[in-house]
Symmetry: C2
């Protein structure tokens, strides 16, 4: 019986990203991922339903953290600022230490249409969850959706820059910059 | 030998949407679609690679039309207005007559995660194509991407409303309304 491995999910993620980068997502087996991580396939299946899910392990935690942080923020902030503030807090707490992992993850996803579509589906679900959180704060449903989608647009823009080779600014700073760029773009009338 | 059927793709689309609505996307076969349309399976495969593609038949034409229309517009318009103008022209020319088809299409897609992800992937490709068209007009790549994504956000918001039961406003009008809502959301600072 293997002992309980508190860091098993993270070790499996690191091993999977290495292998996906070396030999491609399609050609990598779960047996190889488990072996590279020094764990059993059984441990793999204790953490993930399939090899695709390794790439999306943070999604549910991130969504929960952002929604919680929106609820915890001041009611005085305009809706978009409330979401961007929450995203910034979560970026500092959960993402900044993971920049290298995020870079490797994005290059795997970008190379595979099915993974890309899955990522877009997860983003759409996060948009809906943020819209629901804004609706709970008193936003009407239409404004809540547009605001959530605008915040996600800023976040996606910031993530594109943050994962670029040589980029050193924090995700939180890049998020602020993306919001300013969005205001410039949308403000012209 | 069947005669040439100028409206075969449209007849197959109508038949497919009826069947997807009646019995679900997964349970519908290509043989059933062809039979309902009064055509052969061979004719089906002359037009579509698989049954999923029936749902995306307009995508390439819409993308081409929007990109062309952006290129044809006045250079004086701000980038976002240039894209929204192009989307409005294309909505009038290609989409307004298809509202019932669009409604049925959206309800099929919304019920199937794989189709939803495919739709999001097609939207992401359209965003990139619009960003490229703006870049050709002289936008820097970052502004071009944000502007394209903002325009797509407005279009998605408008499409959600346009396909709602009982809605009678045109897609072009709803697009203008979504841009105003986006300006309100993003303008608050």
């Amino acid at each position: 019986m293997p002992r309980w491995k508190p860091d098993a999910a993270e070790r499996l993620e690191t091993a999977a990203l290495e292998l996906f980068g070396e030999q491609g997502f399609e050609r990598t087996t779960i047996a190889e991922i488990a072996a590279r991580a020094g764990l059993t396939q059984r441990t793999f299946f204790n953490h993930f339903a399939d090899k695709r899910e390794v790439l999306f392990r943070m999604g549910a935690d991130l969504q929960r953290a952002i929604v919680t942080e929106i609820g915890a923020g001041s009611d005085d902030l305009p809706a978009l600022d409330a979401v961007v503030r929450a995203m910034g807090v979560v970026a500092d707490e959960m993402l900044e230490v993971r920049r290298d992992t995020a870079k490797r993850r994005y290059s795997v996803i970008a190379a595979n249409q099915e993974l890309l579509e899955r990522e877009l589906g997860k983003n759409a679900a996060l948009t809906e969850a943020i819209a629901d959180a804004l609706h709970s704060r008193g936003c009407d449903p239409e404004s809540a959706f547009i605001t959530a989608a605008a915040a996600m647009l800023a976040q996606q823009t910031a993530l594109r820059t943050w994962t670029r080779p040589g980029e050193t600014r924090t995700l939180r700073d890049l998020l602020q910059q993306a919001v300013r760029a969005l205001r410039t773009t949308v403000g012209t009338s």
